[in-house]
């Protein structure tokens, strides 16, 4: 039937081979887009009239922040799919997402701090976005911690999936409560990074970087997924054939 392609996605040998085949299709465009975005952002784009050259960190910072949320959503969706339909591969995808998402979150925090030093005069400001990003990092760490603490893979899959779903319900609540909290303490005295009226010379490289980061995530996810599948199926007989070729 027409659904066979979907059911095959649940089969570890099939997904292992598919991931290997698909990886270059994401990795090469990602590399090209990121290179083009960096060239456009670091060389071609004019310096900002208020922030000078310092604004260029946005080309790494904003895509990292965007990815940190997108990866969490991807993780929670695949965890929910694994939980509801008991698809092992979906759990493997969720497990592969977590370290990538945590790395993007960390990159977003570090670049935010580096940007804050010249702009705000301090590495850390309790800015609502930075704060919710920090909380997101802890959500990732909790997810990975729970997964690491449970030895049985199936139990770890299902327990961490419940946590991911609970987390995704909470992320918007946390985000808005942090925004609300901060607006009580201080008026937004600093410039917002994402101003709507960005000239095209600045905006185009940013969009290229966003797309490039997304494809980069897909490529890394596929590589990690292969490792995850290999580890989970290490006793299966198809592994020997797959690895020897």
């Amino acid at each position: 039937m027409t659904w066979t392609w979907f059911h095959r996605l649940g089969s570890p040998p099939y997904i292992y081979a598919l991931a290997a085949r698909l990886t270059p299709w994401f990795a090469w465009p990602a590399a090209l887009l990121i290179l083009a975005g960096l060239w456009g952002g670091l060389v071609l784009a004019p310096p900002d009239y208020q922030q000078g050259e310092g604004f260029r960190i946005i080309y790494v910072h904003a895509p990292s922040g965007w990815m940190s949320m997108m990866v969490y959503t991807t993780m929670a969706i695949s965890a929910a799919i694994g939980l509801v339909w008991r698809i092992k591969v979906a759990h493997a995808v969720a497990a592969s997402c977590a370290p990538i998402g945590a790395s993007f979150t960390f990159a977003g925090l570090v670049t935010g701090a580096l940007w804050g030093q010249p702009m705000w005069g301090t590495y850390w400001e309790w800015d609502p976005r930075l704060t919710s990003e920090l909380i997101l990092l802890f959500l990732y760490l909790g997810y990975m911690g729970l997964r690491a603490a449970i030895e049985d893979t199936q139990r770890a899959d299902r327990a961490s999936a419940v946590l991911a779903v609970v987390g995704v319900v909470n992320v918007p609540i946390i985000h808005y409560s942090v925004t609300w909290w901060n607006s009580l303490h201080q008026a937004p005295s600093v410039m917002r990074l994402a101003r709507p009226n960005m000239p095209p010379a600045m905006l185009t490289p940013l969009l290229l970087m966003l797309l490039g980061f997304t494809l980069f995530f897909a490529a890394v996810l596929l590589v990690r997924l292969r490792g995850e599948v290999l580890n989970r199926e290490r006793t299966a007989s198809w592994i020997r054939e797959a690895v020897s070729t």
Partner: protein, 251 residues
């Protein structure tokens, strides 16, 4: 009813299904089972009163640390009071979470609950409600004492009690999910706080805000309503997630 868990659970599984005049028999069963589980938890807790006092003593101790560490000036302490009260309450409720499922998981009661055929979600809700009655409510009643020692003006006390009482409902519910997820993990204390604290931050924010407004003598209905909304959301979703997590831990 005996003090050990398993016979109590037996009694629960075989409890006569007294049908209520309204509602389906299944809903009546679930309510009956939840009521029995709630009463059982309360009865067991009152037989071990020492455990009940521990989180409260911890709460008062943590608030006491601040005058010693920061300054004994009441004016400065009053400024810190909302934060101190809520961080202490958050930590105390985290500490108390350990008792929520541990004994029942150890003696097999949770397994019997899962096998009883009654709604595990309802039973989880009952257990969390008992936990709140035993830790959250006492914390709320203890908050005036801690508040007064931090220089909070007496007119602010009723508002603080209500805020802690409502906020601790949400804390108990969030905590029940974390405690259920870490069932069966050895030395799970640090992991439990890593899972629970980020999810509790909205409660901390709105709770501290309500306390701040109470101290300033301002109307505090808005943050209280938000705390109530968090509690209602928790009541709707947390027992479901906790039940799923308990089932997973029993697999």
């Amino acid at each position: 009813m005996s003090a050990s868990g398993a016979p109590a659970a037996d009694a629960l599984a075989g409890a006569p299904a007294r049908a209520f005049s309204a509602g389906s028999p299944a809903a009546a069963h679930a309510l009956d089972a939840a009521r029995l589980a709630l009463l059982r938890d309360l009865r067991l807790a009152f037989r071990k009163r020492g455990q009940l006092v521990q989180p409260l003593a911890f709460f008062v101790l943590v608030t006491m640390l601040f005058p010693l560490a920061v300054s004994p000036e009441l004016a400065r302490l009053r400024e810190l009071a909302p934060g101190v009260l809520w961080v202490a309450a958050l930590l105390a409720s985290l500490l108390a979470l350990e008792f929520l499922f541990r004994d029942d998981a150890y003696d097999g009661t949770l397994e019997q609950y899962a096998l009883s055929g009654r709604s595990l979600t309802g039973l989880m809700f009952a257990k969390t409600a008992a936990h709140w009655l035993l830790t959250g409510l006492p914390l709320a009643l203890m908050a005036p004492l801690a508040g007064l020692s931090l220089g909070v003006p007496p007119p602010a006390i009723p508002g603080i009690i209500v805020a802690v009482a409502v906020g601790s409902v949400a804390l108990s519910l969030i905590g029940s999910v974390g405690a259920a997820l870490t069932l069966g993990i050895k030395r799970s204390g640090a992991l439990l706080s890593l899972l629970t604290l980020p999810l509790s931050l909205p409660v901390l924010i709105f709770g501290a805000r309500a306390t701040q407004l109470a101290i300033n003598g301002a109307p505090l209905l808005a943050p209280l309503e938000l705390l109530g909304a968090l509690a209602v959301l928790g009541v709707t979703l947390a027992p479901l997630a906790a039940a799923a997590a308990v089932r997973i831990s029993l697999e």
